[in-house]
Symmetry: C2
Subunit: 333 residues, 2 copies
């Protein structure tokens, strides 16, 4: 395939997730001109995985019929704490990587090309700001609801990182003070422990274990030859199985609690939800909105849009590209 020549430069976007990595070429309109998917290899060093990403980048250039010289910048997202200024992945808990000089490694191959690095959730927020629903807001909150829950805070059309780069831990605000479930962080009652994909799966497992109440849900999942997961519970809820609907209702209520904290504090223009579980936002929304609206002060907070990402499956890849494309902020009137 030989693509049409274009007046636009391309950005090489590398979205390194905990389990999968997307590598792509993205133009200034947010169109993905080529992409490759690979498994995130955490068996070796981060450098080994970055070398594989470079191979995928070359393959993308061939796919798109473009040259290395067409690439005006490289944007990399990492599943952990990133130091933008130094271009270093400080710590990726799941992969076990520490102090990886991502920028230096990539510039061995792409010398003189700007390389930007960011945490994956913050990059999604920036992608939404640059290419998605965030274009409409000066301030908004991006929330990834997936295996875990993370958030990125956009203030004055820029990512707000906080005093030591860990702002946006909405997944660990406590939403259940009395009967909190244990969270991976060591606390109990965190949003992540009550409304993530993992939390939804665990609620379903507990429901199924109570054979009298969970029988119908168990039968549905078995009949469909599925695993117990946030996705299969959503499918069951859409088939009208009451216990599955209740699980999403519970998760939605907890999301509403956390969103109310964020809105009361920050009075954002909107809340944008991404991550796999956001595909079931319709199932979460009734309880989420009800709890949210009864817990925020001010008519403008009550009315703010809570919407799914407009960037879909490639939100992270577009986020990586936006690290290069994002301009110094111009405030909306």
């Amino acid at each position: 395939v030989i693509s049409m020549p274009s007046q636009h430069n391309l950005v090489l976007a590398i979205d390194i997730g905990g389990t999968k990595t997307l590598v792509g070429l993205v133009d200034a309109q947010g169109t993905i001109q080529a992409q490759r998917r690979l498994t995130t290899d955490i068996t070796g060093t981060a450098e080994t995985h970055l070398a594989k990403c470079m191979e995928a980048a070359k393959a993308c250039l061939i796919d798109a019929g473009r040259l290395k010289a067409d690439v005006s910048g490289v944007g990399v997202t990492v599943p952990g704490l990133a130091d933008r200024l130094r271009g270093v992945l400080v710590h990726a808990p799941y992969a076990g990587w520490n102090e990886v000089p991502v920028k230096a490694v990539l510039q061995n191959e792409w010398a003189d090309t700007p390389v930007e690095i960011a945490n994956d959730v913050n990059a999604c927020a920036l992608g939404e700001l640059t290419f998605g629903n965030g274009r409409k807001f000066n301030h908004f909150i991006w929330v990834t609801v997936s295996t875990g829950i993370g958030s990125g805070i956009v203030v004055d059309r820029q990512i707000f990182e906080g005093e030591s780069m860990i702002a946006g831990e909405l997944g660990h605000v406590i939403v259940e003070w009395e009967n909190g479930m244990p969270c991976g962080c060591g606390h109990t009652g965190c949003l992540e422990a009550h409304a993530s994909g993992t939390a939804i799966r665990r609620m379903a497992e507990r429901t199924i274990a109570e054979s009298d109440r969970g029988a119908e849900l168990a039968r549905f999942i078995m009949d469909c030859n599925l695993d117990v997961s946030a996705e299969s519970v959503a499918q069951a809820a859409r088939s009208g199985i009451k216990e599955a609907l209740e699980i999403y209702e519970t998760a939605g209520r907890y999301l509403g609690r956390a969103f109310s904290y964020a809105a009361n504090l920050l009075n954002p223009g909107g809340i944008v939800v991404g991550g796999g579980v956001s595909l079931a936002l319709d199932l979460l929304a009734p309880a989420m909105r009800k709890t949210y609206r009864s817990s925020v002060i001010g008519e403008s907070n009550r009315r703010i849009p809570i919407v799914p990402t407009s960037l879909g499956y490639e939100a992270g890849l577009l986020g990586a590209a936006s690290l290069v494309y994002h301009q110094p902020p111009r405030m909306l009137k």
Copy 2:
């Protein structure tokens, strides 16, 4: 009294609270060179009260031996929603004032002098940033714990107002989802309903009403010839009365909950507490810190300083002055 001549210009600061108003002349170092105190007159129009503030300003100039020409700007804080750009007090719920063109009224008297207006809580945050503990932080949260609870969010050394000027409603984040007390805002379980001066007084009243448990507290307050109030309960707690200590412990626990939400979201450099109840921060602190530390993620969040204001009783007046003195932000390294 004739003050020494000074090379510094002065700012006329007007801090209009719900019940009292302070008018003062403040120099660039934050020294108050003269001040007058008056009752906030809410029986008439806002314009009537502003005229009284102008009289007090003239008296301050005489007290300080200074001239109107020495005043380089006027800063006004109002107990409600302020529109900085238009210089208008949009709404002050307690006083019942709406759409007061504060800037225009003051410029009748002080033509060609810049007039800045802000919400009182945000102004305190800016005062702390300009003259107090906030000088050390790029980002911090100011919390006023008084009759009610309000907060001001400083991001990148500027007040963050949110999408419609109502950011910082920490007083209305919900800290008690199960057995929430009713709040003035119409919800139940807000921080303000569980940890404000009013909440502390109500807890004491309930304790006293349970005659078996509250007898000692009731006797102490009666013997000292005091009213039941946050102050008298603090005095009782300092005398070792267990029920009074428990009341502050309860309030401290709820403050810790709300502070944990704010820190997880914003990763601030610090939290600065002002308002009358902050005089009892020592009584609140043990339970507050314990709850806070067990509910935030990240070592840097666990370690952030939670400190009382360094500006004392005049925090609001210095806040009003800082509206004029505050420079475009220069970030700390």
